[in-house]
Symmetry: C2
């Protein structure tokens, strides 16, 4: 029976001195005259297995020719390793080639630049770095599901195709069945009646508004799915396609919202630390020194809660020459985020933002100037989540939409949620890749998405 | 402290004769002269709570006016219910209106047609039927994640935007940033150089090919994400947007693939039965009589494995006047699927299909006529999953692509997987909504998707 490397590591005491069969790939191969060492990985765990073979094997000379990258089957005996930092190794009884790999294989056991590996995106999960990053991605995704499911949240699949463009006007991708060479026109405008949905359709930028309909039926709901921005930004943190988590909770105010944000983030970070120990150790060692300490500190910390006004007060008093002068009524810059988390030496919730820089659906505070919104600033990452209490008051919501010149007809269903048994409710959004950048220490969003889509890049 | 209805049900012995506070919605309201009954739900569990209030309450007359659909907060004492089929009820100490609901609220406590409810899609999770269906959707999604994660599979987010159209030519949605009124042209063709990705882009129809790149790095991987078909089909089982699960496993042949398909399906069905008992009881009673028995039988059954040829043999021998005559070398029809699952009185894996009706990437069998593909036919649902061993032989894959006139350059990375340490590998795909139709007994795909997208329909 073939077993996974993961199982071998997990039950090593059981398997010690036993014969096992494993199947996987050669990551490195050191040949010596009378024996050889194969650095083996089957991808089921981060740690590799060292295979030792010697010239007692019938096909010794053939084995010596096996190239890096080849798929092999190995029958061997699990033995204690003479090396200190290695629990065991495999003494080969039989090594069979399952799939060859030519010598021009791009992933050789040496340091490759991340830029080079982006061009080889389909092969990069075979490197240590990306093997770690994409397993962390998988485990973190599961931790998010587990957190919400264990607490009775209903997982809501928000629609990807949407006819509404209320949130991201101008930054949405159009979706059509038309042959773009001959778009049907009618009286000078595109004849969307002839398209699949008989209306203009786009890719969603957020599932929040629809998620609110589920919160008002299930009390607790969350989305976890892809969202899209047609932004032509070539930065390290922007992608055109990314995954978002958007929880929404009825009978929950801003305070309750922050409690959930804090608890969830700590849960996910802790889960990844516990379930990806080898991956995190590697990332700590080779990507961001102090990564594990940073994350462990977050899990133990208490998150500060201050208002936007208090934040500006602190920033104005700071003895610092700002690039952007902090101002009441305005957004805060990266340098301010950094200062404020350092000032409190931990994560900071900034609440009650000026209404004019926040979205229409956020609850207006009694001062008529600020909204019950919150951004979570985290040391070393800046803003990692944002949320708000939603405006549950029908008149106030409609009047805000009027002020902003928004079409009420298109969102009548959303407005109706305030009419049909509306209640205080809140939610937040977390960009999954932003979390992954924080968790892995990898700086570029292109390196935490298997096949990133950015301006000019839609490969694989 | 406000508690969830779910918690009350789970720890009823602890809460009996205690005071609790709950927040939720009035689903029904029966008024009598000196007291009243409120049918209450907060959406955290399927079962409602009966609230009894009487004229000892200060605001008795006001409470009597509360409409169906309103949000309320209730403080009350948990007491044994005099009704036989009800464990407990709540004797109200205080009932407060949180959010009113007018009398023209569309979701009144009476029978609504599913067609009507589709038009009110944003309110339908508040009905018993959809409350049940969308919780089953959430729990089944989680069961799928749990199955794969517990077994060490890496969750792979396949790209949604793709420049490749090899699988679903002609049935893909175009994605563009162009203003459709003035698509830029260059020498008579669309100038995609000016679009976001500098190439023609579409919505994915499958993440399988990309998932194979992860299987050859992690051994075991699965996708779970939205996929799209630009088909203009108005049937009960087609939607333009739906979610797919696509596992992919290295060092696994068709037999191993079938073992995983069988084990996974049984796991998910069993998980839903165990974790949604009230929902399933309701669906059994009001949607599909015998639903639970059908599902329990599946979990206990052994899946038959026969070839496509053997299937045609059986069909040809059957004493039945077919609408479509079964033929070797051809696909089988709905009526054949039905017959074959009845013939074996259980689920049937049909293997080794004629290559010409299957996809290019499926492994050619030694007969040069059939491929190592499999469809799983399930009693009462027909085909619920399909999979195959993938062609791992470079020459055979390329030659098949040539036969079909496919562009090799576009898929060079996919072909290279056979060159760089390729190995036997297999996978399968399951349409999530098809599974949900089977699990819930609801017949129309529009009723298992929160906001379905079908031709002419892109609302909410």
């Amino acid at each position: 029976m073939v077993i996974d490397a993961k199982e071998l590591y997990q039950k090593i005491e059981e398997y010690m001195n036993q014969e096992v069969i494993i199947e996987g790939w050669i990551r490195n191969h050191r040949r010596q005259k009378e024996f050889g060492f194969i650095d083996f990985s089957d991808g089921t765990c981060f740690d590799h297995i060292q295979i030792v073979y010697d010239n007692q094997l019938e096909n010794f000379e053939m084995i010596q020719k096996y190239h890096v990258g080849s798929a092999i089957r190995v029958k061997g005996k699990v033995v204690k390793s003479p090396k200190e930092n290695q629990t065991f190794e495999l003494q080969a009884i039989e090594v069979i080639l399952l799939g060859d790999c030519p010598e021009d294989y791009p992933i050789q056991p040496k340091k490759h630049s991340r830029e080079f590996l982006r061009e080889q995106a389909y092969l990069r999960p075979r490197t240590n770095l990306f093997q770690a990053v994409f397993r962390v991605r998988s485990i973190a995704a599961y931790a998010i599901h587990k957190y919400f499911q264990d607490r009775g949240y209903v997982y809501f699949h928000a629609p990807i195709l949407t006819a509404s463009d209320c949130e991201g006007a101008g930054e949405m991708f159009h979706v059509t069945c038309f042959d773009l060479e001959k778009v049907p026109m009618c009286e000078g405008v595109v004849d969307y009646n002839k398209d699949m949905f008989q209306t203009e359709a786009s890719l969603t930028v957020s599932g929040q508004l629809e998620a609110e309909t589920f919160a008002l039926a299930y009390k607790k709901t969350y989305t976890f799915g892809p969202t899209f921005r047609a932004e032509n930004s070539n930065t390290k943190v922007h992608a055109n396609e990314f995954w978002m988590i958007e929880p929404e909770i009825a009978f929950c105010d801003l305070e309750g919202d922050m409690e959930i944000m804090e608890e969830m983030l700590k849960y996910v970070v802790d889960y990844v630390l516990k379930n990806c120990p080898s991956e995190m150790k590697f990332l700590d060692q080779f990507v961001e020194k102090g990564l594990i300490e940073k994350l462990e500190k977050l899990v133990k910390s208490t998150f500060t809660r201050i208002t936007h006004k208090e934040t500006i007060d602190i920033l104005k008093k700071a003895d610092i020459k700002w690039e952007f002068e902090p101002e009441y009524g305005e957004d805060i810059a990266k340098e301010h985020e950094k200062y404020i988390t350092e000032y409190f030496n931990g994560p900071v919730f900034i609440t009650n933002w000026p209404k004019d820089i926040k979205a229409f659906y956020m609850k207006l505070n009694e001062d008529n100037e600020t909204v019950a919104a919150v951004d979570l600033e985290v040391p070393g990452a800046g803003e990692i989540m944002g949320g708000s209490q939603r405006e549950e008051n029908l008149e106030k919501l409609v009047s805000r939409m009027d002020e902003l010149g928004m079409d009420q007809k298109e969102l009548d269903w959303y407005i109706n949620l305030r009419k049909f048994g509306g209640c205080v409710h809140s939610g937040f959004g977390m960009g999954f890749e932003r979390l992954l950048i924080y968790l892995t220490g990898v700086e570029n969003i292109r390196d935490v998405i298997p096949y990133p889509r950015t301006p000019g890049n839609c490969e694989f």
